[in-house]
Amino acid sequence: MKKFDKDRLILGLAGPALALVVAIALTSVVLLASGRDPIEPYTLMIENAAYADIQVLILNQAGTYYLAALAVAVGFRMNLFNIGVDGQYRLAAMMAALVGASVDLPGPLHIALIVIVAMLTGAFWAGIAGILRTIRGVSEVVSTIMLNAIATSLIAWLILPDNFGVQPEGSNDLTTGEIAESGWFPSVSMGDGGEIYGFTFVAFALGIVYWFVLNRTRFGFDLRATGASQTAAAASGVDAKKMILTAMLISGGVAGLAGMPTLLGDTHTYSLSFPTGIGFTGITIALLGRNNPVGILFSALLIAFLDKASAVLDQYGYEKEIATIMQGLIVIAVVVSYELVRRYGLRRQQQKVGEELAAAARKNREEVAA
């Protein structure tokens, strides 16, 4: 075990902190440029976040984001960029909803089946990209983006009433049918505030599993090693191709879970209005959280806060898209500030090493002279 490194921790926190400050400052500039009060939107959002129902919304959304971001982070640790989380979770949620609605099992089994179907579907969809990458060398960036589009079409086809979809009487929506109550994940009621989806806690617990597997197991070490340098990993006996495929499968499996808080806790069906775009938000969050489970947790909460608390802005004459601008700026600021902090850290390290070497040389000279 290496000992606790204060420098590293400070540098690690400096990146996100710098990014946030820059993003907030730039958003204020945008507000000023459009002739608005540059501070009021923030106070409005913070005031809004004091309400219990908004807090529940933020927490639930953060749980969903957390899963999507973990899925992206698994890929990042392996130097794989899984942009396909979005397609993976939507297809997974749809298949899970289909299977869940067509069977009737005792409670825990029913939920377990739905969750397993979701993970398998997500893993399968990501696995296609994994196989293409390992066998044909197709960049997973390209293939996963394309698979997103294919997933959209596939879902649209599957959900047609002629295939597996159901059009409820009098509705213009298409659904996969309602999952029986045994397949609902118990929620924690907060009174007037609403309900915290039970699966939100599963999501956060998965963060611990992620940390343990990556940092405390042989497999996690291999994964990180392959991500850092494929050739070096291969030289030490790691099958890089197998690692790529495994990482994609895990990433897809976790991505498959991203739709579960909503499916198991709220809608109990997959419909045309099932939330979309979570996979892309997950990329932002994984970046901001530096692929660290705790970092991702805070960034998921931050992005969820921006999403939900900004709804109030409309009522006070501000565009709630201010929050979206801020999210975009955060992404840019994150990349820039991480690079700055990295270079600063590197220079500091070089200086330190240089000083130590100079000190040693001085000592040597003195000894020679003596």
């Binding site: 129902d53 908004i54 919304l57 639930n60 959304q61 130097n79 960029f81 942009i83 939507r90 960036v141 959209t152 079409s153 879902i155 649209a156 086809w157 059009q167 409820p168 009487e169 009098g170 509705s171 213009n172 929506d173 298409l174 609403g194 909503t262 709220d266 809608t267 419909s271 045309l272 209005s273 099932f274 939330p275 979309t276 775009g277 979570i278 892309f280 938000t281 990329i283 932002t284 970046l287 999403d307 939900k308 709804a311 409309d314 009522q315 006070y316 004459g317 565009e319 709630k320 898209e321 979206t324 999210q327 975009g328 992404v331 840019i332 994150v334 990349v335 991480y338 690079e339």
Partner: protein, 347 residues
Amino acid sequence: MRRVTRIATVAIASTALAFSATACGKTSDSGSDSKEASAAIAYDIGGRGDQSFNDAAYAGLEKAEKDLDIKGNDQEPSEGESDADKVQRLTELARSGNNPVIGVGFAYAPAIKKVAPKFPKTTFGIIDDTSVTGKNIANLVFNEEQGSYLAGVAAAKATKTNKVGFIGGVEVPLIKKFEAGFAQGVKDTNPQVQVLKQYLTQPPNFDGFAKPDLGKAAAEGQLDKGADVVYHAAGLAGSGAIEAAASQGKWAVGVDSDQYKQPGLAKYKDKILTSVTKDVSDSVYNLIKSVKDGKPQSGEVRYGLAEDGVGLSDSNPAYQKMTDLIAAVDKAKADVVAGKIKVRTAP
């Protein structure tokens, strides 16, 4: 440096995605803590400024503000939001005293089902859905297929190549109603006429309602195949279809509101034969008025040809000159209203 470039790719890609997922900014009116009567609408995807569905609802609210002296509130959804967000939005609007609270679009059905029982004194309106019912819920629905049927009759009369085109924005059941009515109208009038149909996108990709370039490309494809009348049910994307048809000197049929009168399409209006109107604004206005009068609407409120809730516009002078066509449309309208013709709601 490989690491850097990779992260940069990630950043650029995700920023681009984040921005592309953003609807353009629109302003909204202020909150409603005051005691005066107020009504609220919550928009569907696209929000205000979509030149179609949501704008029509807003027009109804605006009219109510003017004529009924009430205060109007409107709220926009976020891209890709969940039912929980809609529940929160409706709860907020109901709690702050708005009555009625109207959900624009079927996506609000699950949310209204949850919120309506909690506010028994507030009337909730939902457009395009009858699956949620309750004493304080008014389901505002339209017979889009009937209006589209008339468009089919008109198109079949106007075509010279015996080919007409249908462009649907997003392939959802609602738009299929437009297709079904149109195709039936064409076939009943002239079985020789072939209907080319195309949908722009599949859900959950709703670009097909928003991106004119998609509508333009689809219309050009149909025109190349010989169609000389193109009917679009694609919201804002349909303006591209109108542009394509008009610039080749072919007929376009508009949708939702009388597009001949839309300032944004003034350049092409001579070739906008007619439009299938869907009077969302009136339905919103009527509901607000009924609440104000103390007799709130409840249950299914249907707007069909008989109620002039859907129809065919005739503001184009060129249309008014086609007496043969107008006679056929009028006859078809009378038959539908009388129940002699049953129009299908699914293709």
